[in-house]
Amino acid sequence: MNTSNLIKKARKDIIKFGFESGGSSHYGGALSMLDFLCVLYNEFLIQPKDLSKTSNRDYFILSKGHSALGLYSVLFNKNYFDEDYFKTYLQNETDLIAHPIQNLKKGIESSNGSLGQGISMSTGIAHALLNKGLDNKVYCVVGDGECNEGIVYEALNYASHYKLKNLCVFLDLNGFQNDGSSKDVLDIGLKYKKIFESIGWEINFIKGNNEDEIRKSLSIFNMQVNEKPFVIIGETTKGCGVDVMENNNEWHHNKISKSFYEQIKSL
């Protein structure tokens, strides 16, 4: 499947499996990062479907763990697990819950949900790969709301100091968090570009829901010769691709009704 089709299919499945689960999901954040995840998994990430087979491979960590449904949808469409397994999403005693649970055999690298910890582990993996002389890459998706957490800055400093050139962070700048607009919650004037730059990261500022721009950024990262960690700051739309959900924080975490599902399932 080409990446454009993968994005459409994975978006549809977020809605479908989210609705069919009968529960509430973090749709907004899952949709805002979906284009990045699809380009990454379809064109760049080099790893076996069973991650436990080897540690000499690329790594993906979903630091904004609450967007797990987006990750599950991509993993399903990339055949890391089958439909029966995906159907257990939000069913009692499943491992497919609102936040990823480490499950190497199903392609899930780490347990997340506590914000800021994924980027921290990513720096450790990247450093360990460099120490071992391996040229594999570590990719990590961080949310802008997540950047309220102090540990994020500890990790940024660490990555810069140890010149973790094999680390690529996608900052999903969708402008919203649980309680509303990030400007209202904790406004830092969207100075992420300056912050990353001054800490010593290589920056690519793009439209984060544009497949071509994402592809170009990931290519630049994979070809870069300098010794800096790399961040793609992606300006995204929360709820991207589902009209009613776009920039509507009611869909940060919500349940899709049957009538609403009938309206949007033809996307």
Binding site: Q117, S120, G124, I125, A128, E154, Y158
Partner: protein, 329 residues
């Protein structure tokens, strides 16, 4: 690892103290284990890593004063197969980086060893911000983390060796300062989750001691034997997994008094654990004396002074047990 426990060596280690001995043990491990890596949050020198850094610069990583991220970094290294030892003062691990330890070591079971330096009262004049008073209590509630608490410097070597082979999530709690008293002068066997008896004159009193308290309880037991009170002293070097089998067998001997001793708040630590075990065994009829620190913030002072002030030295322990028996017998 290559080391020898002898009278001479034990004396030398005792003189340099718990942290320098730990650094020596890690150096010995680094000499033989290619996958070993030591990480610290700007406390490399306080971890005794001077020689390690000089001899094996690529086996030490300074994470800076950022304990939370240090745990994430350690977790990342462990995913690549490294045998990680991450150090900081006990409170900065157990409280500040608590949730990172919960997610990475406990929830994900990543085999990282974390080392709480100078726990208990060892940092004397640095005060409550630096004392390790609640660390056992916190880690005891996190599933799947082993808790080690070496009784002397020789046992620090033993536990570094044990954990390096075990490769499980573990917390190593270092108590005691320089001139850390000697419990072991010759080589002995140590097993995960198995008490070691360090003194035995009879079954009037069973004393369960951990870390720095093992030596003081052993000395107290000698004094008690002199006045006709016969004791056994068990070194609880592994607080988790706890040696429930041996404990149950010991209880069947119906001692007049069970004692726990720890350089830790009286609530939540070894004493609370033993109380829970008694409850499980339906042996709450046994008298229990919990020796530890009162549940409040403490005065600062020289380490030895503080042990006496808070009645954790041999003589105070002797008196506490004697008094308890007078009341309860």
């Amino acid at each position: 690892m290559n080391y020898e426990i002898s009278k001479r060596q034990a004396k030398l280690w005792s003189r340099i103290g718990a942290r320098a001995s730990f650094g020596q043990a890690i150096l010995e491990l680094a000499n033989t284990d290619d996958n070993m890596i030591a990480i610290s949050a700007d406390l490399g020198r306080s971890s005794g890593f001077g020689t390690l850094v000089a001899k094996h610069p690529n086996k030490f990583i300074n994470a800076g004063i950022a304990e939370q991220n240090m745990i994430g970094v350690s977790a990342g290294f462990s995913k690549l197969g490294y045998n990680v030892y991450a150090t900081s003062f006990a409170p900065f691990l157990s409280y500040r980086a608590s949730e990172m330890i919960r997610m990475n070591l406990s929830y994900m079971k990543l085999p990282v060893n974390i080392v709480g330096l100078a726990s208990g009262l060892a940092l004397g004049f640095l005060g409550n911000s630096h004392f390790g008073l609640e660390d056992i209590s916190i880690f005891r509630t996190f599933p799947d983390i082993n808790i080690f608490s070496p009784a002397d410097c020789s046992e620090i070597f033993k536990i570094v060796e044990l954990t390096s082979k075990l490769r499980e999530p573990s917390y190593i709690r270092l108590t005691g300062g320089v001139n850390f008293p000697i419990v072991y002068e010759e080589d002995y066997d140590i097993k995960l989750g198995k008490f070691n008896s360090v003194f035995s004159s009879g079954d009037d009193v069973h004393i369960y001691a951990t870390g720095s308290m093992v030596y003081h309880c052993k000395e107290a037991a000698k004094l008690l034997a002199d006045v006709g009170i016969n004791c056994k002293v068990f070194n609880v070097h592994t607080i988790r997994p706890f040696d429930s089998n041996s404990f149950s067998q010991n209880c069947s001997k119906s001692p007049k008094l069970v004692v726990t001793a720890e350089e830790h708040f009286i609530s939540g630590g070894l004493g609370s654990l033993v109380l829970e075990e008694l409850h499980k065994l339906k042996r709450l009829n046994l008298s229990l004396l919990k020796i530890g620190l009162p549940n409040k913030y403490l005065q600062s002072g020289e380490y030895e002074f503080l042990l006496k002030k808070y009645e954790l030295d041999s003589m105070s322990i002797f008196n506490s047990i004697k008094n308890e028996l007078n009341i309860s017998v």
